[in-house]
Each structure stands twice: as C-alpha cells, then as structure tokens.
C-alpha cells in the first residue's frame, strides 16, 4: 500500500470537498463515507463476541456510524434549529440574488415620478422612493450586489489565506517570517479606513472594483487563523508518519494537514461573508462604494438618510434586509462552530 500511497491522484483539488480514501480491499478509490460505513460495519462484527453484555451493547449501538469530523458535524448540524434557520435564510437570499425577477413585482428601474415617496400599499409593498421606483423590487435587486460581493470577496480571501497560511505554517523559518511580517503590516490597516482611502481616489466604481479593494485589504486576519491552525495540526504524529513514508510536502499539506486544519477557517469564512456585506454597505453609504445607478442597500440607505422622519420606510426595508443577510451568515458561523469545534461542546 505504501508505494501506491504516493501515486499522484488528482491532487489538483486542494479543497478536498469530497475526501477520497484508498481502500485496500476494493482496489480502487471510493468516497470516504462508503469506506467509513464499511469500517463501522466491520467493527460491529468484531465486537459481536462481546455482545452478551447488555451495557456494552448499548454503548456500541450508540456509536456513530462514521467517525469523521465532517460526518459527525453534519449529523449534528442537521438537527440544530440554528443551522436550519440560517441555511434556509441563506438559500432564500441566494435564490433572490440569482433570480430577483421571479419575486419582484415591478421593474426596479421603471419609475414614475408621480408616484414619488408613496407609503407601503398593496400596489407597492414597500412603498416607493423619491424617483417613484417600486421599493420592494429595488430592495430585492439589492440582494444581488450584497450577496455577490460577499461571496466573491470571501472566496478569494479564503484562497489567499489558505495558500499563504499553510505555506507559512508548514514551512516555518524564513518563509514564515516574511509572510508573517507582511501580514502584520496589513493587519494594522482597518478595512473601512483603507477602503475609504483607496476608493475615494477611484472615479468609477463597480462591483469588481469594490470587491478587489476588499480582497486586497481583507485577507490578513484569515491568513493568521489558517497559519495557527496549520501549526497545530502539523504537530500530529500522522504528519510525521506521512513524511516518513516519503510523501511530498505539497501532498502532506493538501492530504493530511488542510483537511484537518480547515474547520476553523470555514467557520470564520461564513461569518466573514456577513462582515464583508456590511463593509460594502458601509462604503456605499459613505459614498465611496458603489455608485448610482447601481442598486445597493448601502446606497439606498444613504439616499434615505435625508428623509428618516418623513419617509422612514426608505430606511427600514433595505436596513432590515441588510441586517437579516448579515444575521444569517453570522448565525451560520455560530452553527458551524458548535458542530465543528469539539472543544466548545
């Protein structure tokens, strides 16, 4: 088995979403949950000799069928209301952001000045804004900007953090020092402040520009987290074992370290989507984020602030959507933490 262990096998997928193990009896690669199930069954057979003891029977019967962290976490998550609520909210928000037209009652840019600043009614569920646009449709279309910026930014930030953090944590020494010092520098520049400085100098700002700036400014915290997580996993015996078997460094990182070090990163990434969405809204609110005619909650609130007394609905609806969106991602992070971090159980 040891000589086959090192045969390169689609190692290009570092995420390891579907961990695949080598099963020596089958002679081909099978998804880990299948192996896990087989292993669990085998265990039961071995223990059948001890089945006479009812106490033991009870204990063995209660054993989880798969013992992996992810299988365990998933079983926990499925039953937790916090996870179910946040997952449903996120799925709804993603569907709205992909197909806002399905739910909108009007074209968000088809506005009639006669209908300016109407209060909520059966025709305009959230009322209308100063230009007479249907506010319900505009609020729905605003989901698209927030969700896409949140996901794009966190996707790239996580990639940067995972690569940089695992290289720094695994190789140590001079590599670690260089990456560490660069991270220190980025770490002392607050995201909103840095965003204001850079974005105020750019004349036309779209989703791509704002995302890029938030990626450039936002990776330091997550990289530190990946590094410390990798350092903790690196100390395990199985890493030494893999090295003794002659596995290459990239292979050790991707096969043995990252799958075990990624849990805290996933937790923080989920929360970070909410943080980035709030940051984009704040920047747009301050007038250095997205620009009209873009439809963004931050921009809508920025326009609404002059009329918070006469037309509070202009503030209320985008504010509520924004808060619920941030809320669902923070809640998702909380649920994942409860399931993935055994220390806090």
């Amino acid at each position: 088995m040891s000589d086959k262990q090192d045969t390169p096998r689609g190692d290009s997928d570092p995420s390891g979403e579907e961990p695949v193990l080598y099963a020596d009896t089958v002679g081909e690669y099978v998804p880990s949950d299948v192996v896990g199930r087989q292993a669990a069954t085998a265990e039961h057979d071995d223990q059948s000799a001890f089945r006479q003891s009812p106490v033991l029977d009870e204990v063995v019967g209660d054993l989880p069928r798969t013992a992996s962290l992810w299988g365990d976490a998933w079983r926990q998550l499925r039953r937790r209301p916090v996870f179910i609520i946040s997952a449903i909210l996120i799925v709804i928000l993603v569907i709205i952001s992909l197909f806002p037209g399905l739910f909108a009652t009007h074209d968000p840019r088809d506005c009639n000045l006669i209908d300016s600043l109407l209060l909520p009614s059966s025709e305009h569920w959230f009322g209308t804004d100063l230009q007479g646009c249907d506010y319900y449709s505009r609020t729905l279309y605003g989901t698209r900007v927030s969700i896409s910026i949140g996901i794009i930014v966190v996707f790239f930030v996580t990639i940067i953090a995972v690569i940089g953090g695992s290289v720094a944590g695994y190789y140590g020494g001079a590599t670690d020092s260089i990456i560490g010092r660069i991270t220190d520098i980025w770490f002392v520049i607050p995201t909103i402040l840095g965003g204001i400085v850079i974005l105020s100098l750019i004349r036309s700002r779209g989703i791509a520009t704002v995302s890029l700036v938030l990626i450039v400014l936002g990776w330091a915290t997550l990289l530190r987290l990946v590094r410390s997580s990798v350092l903790a996993v690196k100390a395990n015996d199985y890493v030494d074992a893999a090295r003794a078997m002659g596995a290459s460094n990239p292979r050790i990182i991707m096969r043995h370290i990252l799958p075990n070090a990624i849990a805290p990163v996933i937790i923080v990434s989920a929360i970070y989507v909410g943080v980035i969405i709030a940051a984009e809204a704040a920047l747009s609110f301050l007038g250095v984020g997205l620009q009209l005619p873009a439809i963004s909650w931050g921009l809508m609130i920025s326009v609404a602030q002059q009329r918070i007394i006469t037309a509070p609905h202009l503030l209320l609806f985008p504010g509520a959507f924004l808060s619920v969106t941030v809320f669902s991602f923070i809640l998702m992070g909380d649920a994942l933490r409860d399931a993935l971090d055994p220390k806090l159980r």
Binding site: I182, I185, V188, P190, I196, V197, L201, L286, Q305
Partner: protein, 307 residues
Amino acid sequence: MGRYLIRRLLQFIPVFFGATFLIFALVFIMPGDPIRALSGDKPLAPEVVQALQERYHLDEPFYKQYAIYITNVFQGDFGTDFRGRPVSELMADRLPVTIRLALLAFAIEVVIGLTAGVVAGVRKGKFFDSLVLVATLAVLSIPVFVLGFIAQIIFGVKLGWFPISGYREGWMSLMLPAFVLASLSLAYIARLSRTSLVENLRADYVRTAKAKGLSSRRVIGIHTLRNSLIPVVTYLAVDLGALMGGAIITETIFNLPGLGRAVFDATRSQEGTVVVGIATFLVIVYMVANLLVDVLYGVLDPRIRYE
C-alpha cells in the same frame, strides 16, 4: 520581561514603515493627477503646474517621495489641504471630539459588555445567558449606520431624550453616538468574556479551589475572573484604537465635528491629501494600540513572554 519588550519594539519598526509605505503606495498607484484635481474644471498654466509639481516633489521618483513624506510625518506634518491649511491643524481641531466620543463609548462597552458577559457566563444555560446571546447576535447583525438611524428615530425624534445630531450640547450630544459606536464592541466583549469565563470555570485550578471549600463567590471573583479577563483586556486595548478609526460612520450620521467626519468631508470634496493625512494618523494610533496590547499581554500572561 525586558527582552520581550525589546523584541516587540523591534518588531514594531518594520510594521510602522510597512504600513505607512502601503498607504502611500496604494495612493500612488491610483490613476489620477492631484494637480488636475486641485485645479478643478479650469486647466492651470503649464508654469503653474510645474511649480506645483516641484513644490510637492511630484517630479521626484517614488521612493524619494515616500522618504520625504515619512520624514514630514515624523515632524508632525501630515500635508496641507486645498486651502493651504496644514492637515495637522485640522486634526488638532477635530481630535478632542473624537477622543471624547471614543472614551465615552469605551466606558459604555466596558461597563455594560463586561457585566453582561460575566453574569451570562456564571449563569450558563439560564435565561439571562440566552438573552445575552440573542441580544448580542442581533446587535452584531445590524450595521452601525442602520443602528444609528434607528437610535435617532427612537431616542431623538420619538422620545426626545437626546439631541439628534450636532455638538451643541457637549457631553449630552455625545451620549447617543457613543452608544451606537460602542454597540458592536459591546456585543463582542459580552460574548468574549462569557466564553472565556465558561472555559475557565472548567479548568483544573477552579476544581481545586472548590475542593478546598472556597465560596463560589471567591472562586469566581478571585480565581477565575482574573484569568478569564486576559483576552478581554487585550481586546479592549485594541478596541480603543479601533474606536477612534471606527468613528467615521458614527460621526457622519450624528454630524459631530470629529476626525471621522473630517475624513468623510474630505472624500466628498475629493481632498486626497486630507484623507491620506488623517488615515495615516489613525493607522499610527491603531498600530501603537496594538503594540501596547502586546506589551500588556506579556505583563498579564507570563506564558506569552517565552515564545
């Protein structure tokens, strides 16, 4: 302790130059001509442009410009605004308001956040604990500017307890903005101190203390709190730096004449030098706060000193 202190101070130097260089470089690589921005719609005569370029060293190479800039910063010169007024003068004007606001917010988050967190931690799983968890989650989810407007509508307009905006009534005008500014950190501190306390209550030394027959008040008050507040204290120190920078949104909403409002006004009027000058200052404040935290951590937790 001495060696630890020296090592931290030495590590501070590259971070200082790196961060100021980063701000400078990010601004430098941006497209746009500061002199064109200065002249507005009407183009300036070429001689004037050249004179201005020489005066602001814009004809010098990049690294030299940075050297001049950082030397000036060391002498307290953060550049001048479009009217020729030094940015440092503007900052001296605005700083007192921001410091007052930050201190008030800081006091609020320490008193309320810490109390809520400690009580929740001691009564883990009880009603108050759940209440704190739900309330902090809600506060963490509502962006500061939405919270600010809600506070204005409820406490300013409907109830009339506090002035809605401006700085005419001194400390009274700062109350509402301070609560809004403190909200995020308050929620975070409550959660942090709760988690830390709960973790420490399971520690071996707590069991020993209980086994000795000490009262639970003494076990929590003397033994557990001291240890579990270490992460909270270090967070608080960073937060004081962050509060000063984070005041941009709050000061804008409540129309307070502080540093954050100055940054906002400068972005509106496209005065790049003011934005960069104040941003540099705020980053330095934040950096020094971070340094103090590291030192404080070493004082509070001797294990940190022996990395």
